[in-house]
């Protein structure tokens, strides 16, 4: 690490880091993504699309991977398979998904209450959504899209249909390097212990959304 990188790191940390003390009141599920472990293989994207019926051939996804190479961001999608073909020598991968914000803009702006919280997860009532796309506009993470077949907005639900039955979300299950960890955010749980012992950050903390997706080893502010 040269002096320039070190200064960038120091300057970015106060912006991105969040202390666990501030999260103690937030019950429910949470996900941890270790950026250092992600190899950009894209298995999580494929598994998510298959599990949740998102067309594989279209560049829309509930979870996606961004690669940051030499300061340039590339959003990878299923058309770019195999994902690994992008040389990652001087870069890193950032898997992204809905951040299940405690203070979710999409929940606040939805005119028909089609978005709501259950166990800390932001869910979409597809029978009520009118497809006004205000949630897409409001989401600072770009995590929502219009499902081309269902004609309603769609996004990650942490595979709520699976976790209700005690299963892991599809992306967590297939990750070959264990870059994604998922569980209830309560004292003693794996997620809680990791967050207690390691430095972590969230995306766009300035938005004040209180995300429930936490990143480990994300030493720079990503878009």
């Amino acid at each position: 690490m040269n002096r320039r990188d070190f200064l960038k790191l120091i300057l970015s940390l106060p912006l991105a880091s969040v202390s666990i003390a501030s999260l103690k009141s937030s019950k429910g599920y949470a996900m941890i993504i270790d950026v250092e472990k992600c190899i950009g293989c894209g298995k999580c994207v494929i598994a998510c699309k298959i599990e949740n019926g998102v067309p594989l051939e279209l560049p829309i996804s509930r979870t996606w991977i961004e690669s940051y190479l030499d300061g340039k961001k590339i959003v990878m999608n299923t058309k770019d398979n195999p994902f690994i073909k992008i040389k990652a020598k001087n870069g890193f991968f950032v898997p992204k998904l809905c951040n299940h914000c405690s203070n979710a803009p999409c929940v606040n702006v939805c005119p028909v209450s089609a978005r709501f919280h259950v166990d800390g997860i932001v869910l979409v009532d597809k029978d009520v959504c009118i497809g006004c796309k205000y949630c897409i506009i409001a989401c600072p993470y770009g995590a929502t899209f219009v499902h081309p077949e269902e004609k309603v907005t769609d996004k990650c639900t942490f595979c709520y249909h699976r976790i209700r039955r005690g299963l892991k979300p599809a992306c967590v299950l297939v990750c070959p390097t264990g870059a994604r960890k998922f569980g209830e955010f309560k004292e003693g749980s794996e997620v809680y212990e990791i967050l207690k012992s390691k430095r972590f950050s969230v995306l766009k903390p300035e938005a004040g959304t209180n995300p429930r997706v936490f990143y480990l080893n994300l030493d720079t502010v990503v878009e």
Partner: protein, 405 residues
């Protein structure tokens, strides 16, 4: 029906039918498989949203109500036109935004059963629906005496007048009481004005409530009210002059109202130019974030620069101001000024909706073509529908001004 009228109505009907087909194709089409709303790869809000904003922010009804409440006698001759234009533009605007919904059949969810009082959009819908209802009621009281008078004649217009005046119900509905009607119209006009201001400012707040730097501005609500006045006065000038030319009837009192509206247009254009300068500088140049300066630079130096400098600033503001000042008391100049300012306002709505979203696009999303042909066909159809509806209403209703009170 004259040949000229026949051609006009036929052309409008063809355009409306094309718009309907385009809307059908967008939602259920199989011939042209398109995904104009595939939001993750483009702009979630597109031409139809820009058109909606343009249509519902034509504040002719608000100008009429304000004129009534403030007792501005000069505006009285064009109050009927103003109310009708507002009813038509808000109705077509609501149809446009309903077509933009992915699930058009669920549009009612926004009003009944699933309301989210936390949502700015919910309140915007409520205020626009209320404004429309108040305008219809205000218009009914305003037209009632003349409708009753017209219903005494023979023919289709008399039949329509009988129906609209509810004369067949008897009692209160069959008796003329112009003074009472006017006081009712004035009271309801006050409510219409309040809901109009709430609706316009809510629409501004709807854009503000986002993380998009070009939109996230506390001045949006005020600016939207201001531009609604600009658009309203421009449309009223344009429609009054064109009606007088096509019908060959020139009412001196209506022309007086047009000159007063010309002044209102001039002042609101001045205020708009200050607002644009203020907003652009405040959003883009304190450089609060990279995204903020990116989106402003994209608007004024990037791919929206031609729209911004030529259509919004030159055609929409400078040229109309010069036309009004140079052509003092000249109807032709006012006509040109009103048309140019409407072009500028439409360009502003378009740029506002599209350029705002560029900051979403730089986070890795590709840019789709800004306007899909089907959206353009629908937009032309929607504007034609507004013209057709106004034409029909103008023809059927008693538009002549017969009272001074």
């Amino acid at each position: 029906m004259k040949t000229r009228e026949f051609i006009l109505i036929s052309a409008l009907l063809v355009l409306v039918a094309s718009g309907l087909l385009a809307a059908y194709q967008m939602h259920f089409g199989t011939v042209i498989p398109i995904e104009p709303y595939e939001s993750a790869v483009g702009n979630p809000w597109r031409l139809l949203v820009a058109l909606y904003v343009f249509l519902v922010l034509i504040g002719t009804g608000a100008i009429a109500s304000a004129g009534e409440i403030l007792g501005i006698k000069e505006l009285e001759p064009i109050i009927k036109e103003a109310i009708l234009i507002s009813i038509v533009t808000i109705s077509v605007g609501l149809i446009t935004i309903a077509v933009d919904l992915e699930r058009i059949e669920r549009a009612g969810n926004a009003l009944l059963g699933y309301a989210n009082p936390m949502s700015v959009m919910y309140w915007m819908i409520i205020f626009y629906v209320l404004e429309l209802l108040f305008l219809i009621l205000e218009g009914w009281f305003y037209f009632r005496a003349d409708l009753l008078k017209q219903s005494e004649k023979r023919g289709f217009k008399a039949f329509i007048s009988k129906l609209l005046s509810l004369k067949f119900l008897g009692g209160f509905f069959s008796k003329q009481n112009r003074d009472l009607d006017m006081s009712f119209a004035k009271s309801i006009g006050f409510l219409a004005l309040i809901t109009a201001i709430l609706a316009y400012s809510n629409l501004g707040a709807l854009f503000s409530a986002s993380y998009i730097p070009l939109w996230n501005d506390a001045s949006n609500p005020v600016y939207f009210v201001l531009t609604a006045i600009t658009a309203g006065s421009a449309v009223l000038i344009f429609s009054t002059i064109i009606t007088s030319w096509t019908t060959g009837k020139s009412d001196e009192r209506k022309m007086k109202a047009v000159f007063l509206l010309g002044k209102l247009l001039l002042y609101s254009l001045f205020a708009s130019s200050i607002f644009i300068l203020w907003r652009t500088v405040i959003i883009g140049y304190p450089a609060v974030s990279y995204l903020a300066s990116y989106s402003v630079n994209n608007l004024i130096f990037g791919k929206f620069a031609l729209n911004f400098w030529f259509l919004e600033i030159f055609v929409g503001i400078i040229a109309p101001i010069l036309a009004i000042i140079a052509g003092r008391k000249n109807l032709d100049a006012l006509f040109v000024a009103s048309f140019l300012s409407l072009v500028g306002i439409f360009a502003f709505r378009f740029d506002f909706v599209y350029a705002g979203q560029t900051s979403k696009q730089i986070s890795g999303m590709s840019v789709t073509p800004p306007v899909h042909p089907l959206e353009a066909i629908f937009a032309v159809g929607a504007i034609s529908l507004a013209l057709l509806l106004y034409y029909i209403l103008y023809k059927l209703l008693p538009m002549e001004v017969e009272h001074e009170s």
